[in-house]
Symmetry: C2
């Protein structure tokens, strides 16, 4: 039964793919086609009916254990689980994989599950409602997406270029990350005040405000940018700022970022959330 279904599905996909090759041209913004949707569905489901033996008993990784380069999905998992640290670039063989991850539905789906969890947590809180309860938001790859830049710069496979990246930031055109935006709006409706805490520097304040506003963010309590010339690690800088918030009487009920350096370091906040980011690492 399962086999029959799978065959029918595969053959339908082959047919669908063949009949729409002429439509395979990139465009700047469009919805996924039925073929893409089918390919993604296949990616998720095709191997599920396979009956596996308990291969770990053999101590064998199987026929596909080693491919050329690092296995990109395992590399991404290692990044997200903080096993992989201090990396400079996405492995060269993973450019296509990361591009597909970011631009397909996968990144969005992963982000949605994180935000669903964050909202469930926020809704479960017994709030004092004294205006001192805050939630810390990182900006880049958490609240705003720099994907338009990275999509034309090798999806993280090239070394960071401060000049061209800063030029992009100064355009003020980074789109909102819609799942984080959903959390942001929800928190405001619950009476929890958002505080932006970013590694962006003070000279980028006005373009950052403009970018956030143009993307629909409003009602934040503070926007903390890094003073020019501060030379400490991201962990040290951000924990220091969170400590100042606490010292000023704020209660950090939540903290969300795309980097582990956003959410590690005392005081972390009562609960932390990491949104995915396979594009770059900040220590």
């Amino acid at each position: 039964m399962a086999m029959t279904n799978k065959l029918v599905f595969l053959m339908a996909l082959v047919a669908a793919t063949a009949s729409s090759c002429s439509a395979w041209r990139p465009s700047i913004i469009r919805m996924p086609t039925a073929v893409e949707a089918a390919a993604e569905q296949l990616e998720q489901n095709v191997a599920a009916p396979v009956i596996h033996a308990l291969r770990p008993l053999l101590g064998s990784g199987g026929l596909l254990g080693r491919r050329a380069g690092v296995p990109c999905d395992s590399w991404r998992l290692a990044v997200e689980a903080y096993n992989k640290r201090d990396w400079m670039t996405v492995p060269a063989n993973c450019e296509r994989y990361v591009g597909h991850y970011m631009l397909g539905g996968h990144y969005r789906r992963d982000s949605r599950v994180v935000v669903d969890e964050a909202i469930a947590y926020a809704e479960s809180l017994k709030l004092a409602g004294n205006g001192k309860e805050v939630w810390v938001f990182d900006i880049d790859e958490t609240s705003l997406s720099n994907l338009p830049y990275y999509a034309t710069h090798g999806f993280g496979t090239k070394l960071y270029n401060a000049t061209s990246f800063k030029e992009y930031v100064m355009e003020g055109s980074a789109p909102a990350l819609p799942e984080t935006k959903r959390l942001f709006d929800k928190l405001i409706s619950l009476g929890i005040k958002p505080v932006f805490l970013t590694g962006r520097t003070e000279d980028q304040r006005s373009i950052t405000v403009q970018n956030l506003r143009s993307q629909g963010y409003s009602g934040w309590d503070k926007l903390l940018l890094k003073p020019l010339g501060v030379k400490v690690t991201a962990i040290a800088y951000k924990s220091g700022e969170r400590q100042k918030l606490q010292d000023a009487g704020y209660v950090i009920v939540g903290n969300i970022g795309d980097q582990w350096s956003d959410i590690l370091g005392v005081p972390e906040g009562a609960r932390t959330f990491k949104v995915p980011d396979p594009l770059y690492y900040i220590g």
Copy 2:
């Protein structure tokens, strides 16, 4: 070109699948067939040539944004990145997904990348070589696999059953997790002493020693089991034991576990590693 290759590959898979249906019977232990290998390869690669638009700009999750139940790969990522906490069971709709993950090559591949990273870290250390440098290993789902149990108990979708699980443990038949075993042996060759620190209790000492030995583990420095009747959280218990190690002059250069409660809590160890575990959560 890419399209043509994809068509050829899909058609070859259809043909291969059709011609070997009669071979699709479960057996206890066997290597993956060519069809399984092809299906897994497909799962990894099929959607990669798709050209995506910058869909986050639209604020849309795409056609496949919501399926029945939680998206299982995103759920697993949220577990590994410590976004999902205090969960009791694997979502019911993810039983097949988790089974495929654990029994196919994916779990092994993810574990290999973690251990490769751990070995690279260990090899980079400048060791004092004074016999006081240790590496803490959790046991269940880190050093030994209880997959034979979970494979016949719903892959984590059923509530924990202490009685039947303990019966399984007392068989002493849990297989070694080969990637962790590779790390264990490597550390011994480097002069770093493994210390097992487990939530298993003292009454399980002799079967645990027997199980570890039968699976090829040897040369550990300590096996720390929990005294009967200790009622603290896993984080509190394990950090307390690590503190005792430090107080006794040991230097914990590394710490590996499948649960965040294995690797959180001061002192964590100089560097921590999390191996995958989508089967259960211990807080």
